[in-house]
């Protein structure tokens, strides 16, 4: 490159800069010209952290991602306890932090963010001695972030830029036309690839473990699925859960409702993953994977009345402790509510049988078709060293206006029982009409209406089911999927109505039902106490009514001398901490302890088993 001959006046060139704006920023008085609308540093600056302690759930994902080990989860007393959260909150060591903002990008609740504060310096105090100087400096920079800087927000992460996989892997589901023709299971289950993708989403925070009634090692078995090690996964599952096939399908998944990913996106499909794990391992393989020998020999015998989930669970755990178990089941097959209360399209026969067969293979004796009456109870009480009552809630509750014994008014449980029997060809027909009304807003009510829809499709070719519930859409207790799927299958759902009177025609047959508007479902103490408005009315035509408004326990088989000693509260037995009823040798488990819920049933089964074991040791 050539250089020009410089003129004599070249040095005076610099005079032109005299009138220009100075480059120097008169810090701190002046802001930068690059972003004039904000003060100081840029709008998404990564400075000091702030953390909404209320919103934070202490999942520890920030600690896991931190590349410098600067974040530690520390338990704090001034943090309010809430469901689905720990009392731990992140503490950040600014002697480590590299201000990368990864913790903000993976924060599951978006409580953590970075502010535009950056000035923080610490002069070593002259009093510091040599030995303590380093510690004093380091300690000064270890800070628990709170909302101090939240007004000056810098780097925050919305869902678009989150590093977490917020979308669930879509579970294959049969379309409504296909599935409403039969009682085949409606979801297809994950394939191996889908399961690994879904397992990958989990951040292994372990909040689910605390929420689960039986405290399953959920992060561990999901990790095993992610590593494509189904055997390891089944092993982890069976440590705490004897009925994974059942739980993998119809569990109330309390784990998913607290899943940390659920705060920003969809929770991990923990239930489907469990189902994938146990489904993909055949029963023959189980014995190679799970320890199937008792860990000790107790040499005692235990009778379990009722072969439902709680009874099976207690049998499983007790057989590991070396007890001889006999289950007395009044129906032809064990399974209880899982078999006779849940329709086959949600829980197929094979899956349930697989779980029960495995428990049988442990040496548990199941006496089916054995109804226990008072005499029998006395006999068992003498014969066995302990009794666990797990009879469940098997009586249907009915509305006070339906005249008992009226034809074409049935309870939910007897109806579902009949459907199951019909499907296994025990009975030839289920009584059904072409216009059915279902009362109730719980999952059982949906089970009824969807079963009816299927039967109607088989029998009459078209569906006419109306379901009426007291609750409004925001407080309806049933799962969201149930509502969506039933609508797809042709069930008409009416919210916020309570039954008043059954309308009969001339011949005494049911013509319809008169409803009134429900103003509120709960009173101020959040107790169930509906208030109605009689002026707003609705008449539904129907020729058959199914009442699915809850179930009640039946304690009539227990002899009076024992029953009088037991304490009851709202239909449930009150137990001590060992799950003993207060009468020697008699324990209880299942719905009659904690109310209707399968996974609670399993938990109470485990606890009753522990109580029995404590009795003999």
């Amino acid at each position: 490159m050539d250089y020009k001959k410089k003129s004599f006046f070249a040095p005076f060139n610099s005079l032109k800069y005299l009138l220009k704006d100075p480059v120097t920023i008169r810090y701190p008085k002046e802001n930068k010209k690059t972003y004039p609308e904000v003060e100081g540093v840029s709008p998404q600056y990564r400075g000091r952290h702030f953390n909404d302690l209320e919103k934070c759930i202490g999942c520890g994902t920030c600690e896991d991602i931190c590349p410098t080990g600067a974040i530690q989860m520390v338990e704090f007393d001034d943090v309010k306890e809430k469901n689905g959260a720990t009392k731990k909150r992140p503490v950040i060591d600014y002697g480590r932090c590299c201000f990368c903002g990864f913790c903000v990008d993976v924060c599951t609740t978006s409580s953590l963010g970075m502010s535009r504060e950056y000035v923080n310096n610490f002069p070593t105090p002259p009093e510091a001695t040599e030995d303590t100087q380093g510690e004093i400096i380091s300690k000064y920079f270890i800070i628990r972030p709170d909302l101090n800087f939240s007004k000056n927000q810098g780097w925050i992460t919305d869902n678009n830029y989150s590093w977490l996989e917020l979308k669930r892997v879509v579970m294959g589901i049969f379309n409504p036309e296909e599935r409403s023709n039969s009682f085949l299971e409606i979801v297809k289950g994950y394939t191996k690839e889908e399961a690994i993708l879904e397992a990958r989403r989990c951040v292994a925070c372990g909040l689910c473990k605390d929420a689960c009634p039986i405290h399953m090692d959920i992060p561990e078995y999901i990790m095993a699925i992610f590593n494509d090690d189904v055997k390891e996964s089944v092993k982890e599952i069976y440590k705490t859960n004897p009925l994974p096939e059942v739980c993998g399908r119809v569990c109330t998944h309390k784990c998913e409702s607290v899943c940390s990913l659920g705060h920003r996106g969809e929770p991990v499909a923990i239930r489907w993953l469990k189902r994938y794990a146990v489904d993909s391992l055949p029963l023959e393989e189980y014995k190679n994977v799970i320890a199937n020998k008792p860990i000790k020999q107790a040499g005692k015998s235990v009778a379990i009345i009722g072969g439902g989930p709680a009874g099976l669970s207690a049998a499983y755990f007790l057989s590991f402790m070396g007890y001889r178990i006999t289950i007395f089941e009044k129906e032809a097959k064990a399974g209880g509510i899982a078999r006779y209360g849940i329709p086959a399209y949600r829980l197929p026969e094979d899956a349930l049988n697989k779980d029960i067969d495995f428990i049988k293979s442990l040496g548990v004796e199941i006496k089916t078709n054995t109804n226990i009456d008072k005499n029998m109870f006395e006999k068992i009480y003498k014969e066995y060293d302990a009794i666990i009552i797990s009879t469940g809630f098997d009586l249907p509750r009915s509305t006070n206006l339906s005249r008992n014994g009226m034809e074409n008014v049935v309870g939910a449980l007897p109806f579902l029982h009949d459907v199951r029997e019909f499907l296994s060809n025990k009975i030839s027909d289920v009584k059904i009409t072409d216009n059915v009304l279902v009362i109730g807003g719980g999952n059982v009510a949906f089970d009824c209406s969807r079963s009816v829809a299927r039967l109607q499709k088989m029998k009459f070719g078209k569906v006419k089911v109306t379901q009426v519930c007291l609750e409004t859409p925001d407080i309806i207790p049933a799962d969201k999927e149930e509502i969506e799927e039933s609508a797809e299958e042709g069930v008409t759902l009416i919210y916020g109505m309570g039954p008043k009177e059954i309308i009969l025609d001339d011949k005494g047959n049911i013509k319809g039902l008169d409803f009134m508007k429900c103003e509120s479902v709960f009173d101020e103490n959040m107790r169930f106490n509906p208030k109605f408005n009689e002026n707003e009315r609705l008449i539904c035509e129907a020729t058959m009514i199914i009442e699915a408004i809850g179930q009640a326990p039946d304690y009539s088989f227990i002899p009076e001398e024992y029953r009088s000693k037991m304490k009851f509260e709202r239909g449930k037995i009150v137990l001590d901490e060992n799950y003993s009823t207060g009468i020697e040798k008699i324990f209880a488990a299942g719905d009659i302890v904690k109310g209707p819920d399968i996974v609670n049933g399993i938990a109470t089964g485990l606890n009753a088993a522990k109580g029995v074991d404590k009795l003999f040791n």
Partner: protein, 186 residues
């Protein structure tokens, strides 16, 4: 071991007058040891212009007042830093920039980078950040000036008094004679 409390230093009135003038002309040694070096040129040059605070770069340690540890220090650098620090005349001050000299920073698990500078030379002021922005550095300088004026920045005196302790720490990392990991097992 005598502690330097603020009160005691205040009693020495003479030192106070000296400190007032010292704080207004700090010469910073032009030696860059780590990443932080990259934020020093902006601080020195027109945009942030630290000369308006009476500070300027100085090429030789013997005429400098201020040693900046700009970030991490590897063992090899530490040796040179100690040489340099000992060559500087009293009074002298040390500013540690960034996370690394405070508690190891992102290199907390590195086999080559020291974790806490205060063990080897006395640190008068630590500035958080990775790297600290020029503004943060300037804030730090202003704070140090106040410290100097109040007679609270006494690191160099501590170094003289506890020379043995510092030397022992320095030698323990710089002059090892046995392997660290296998030596520990014995």
């Amino acid at each position: 071991m005598e502690l330097y409390s603020t009160k005691k230093l205040k009693d020495e009135g003479f030192e106070q007058i000296l400190n007032f003038f010292r704080k207004k002309s700090l010469w910073m040694l032009h030696y860059c040891t780590g990443c932080g070096a990259v934020e020093l040129p902006p601080t020195m040059t027109s945009r942030w212009d630290m000369e308006r605070f009476g500070m300027g770069p100085m090429a030789t340690p013997r005429q400098a007042d201020l040693l900046l540890i700009t970030g991490y220090l590897s063992l090899k650098s530490l040796k040179r830093v100690i040489y340099t620090y000992e060559q500087m005349q009293n009074p002298k001050w040390v500013i540690a920039l960034g996370s690394c000299p405070i508690n190891g920073g992102i290199y907390y698990d590195s086999y080559s980078v020291i974790n806490r500078l205060a063990l080897y030379i006395p640190v008068d002021l630590s500035i958080e950040g990775c790297m600290p922005r020029p503004e943060a550095i300037i804030e730090g300088f202003i704070k140090l000036m106040k410290q100097i004026e109040n007679g609270e920045a006494v690191g160099y005196k501590k170094y003289q008094e506890n020379y043995k302790w510092y030397k022992q720490n320095q030698d323990s990392v710089l002059k090892r004679e046995f392997p660290v990991l296998s030596g520990e097992e014995k």
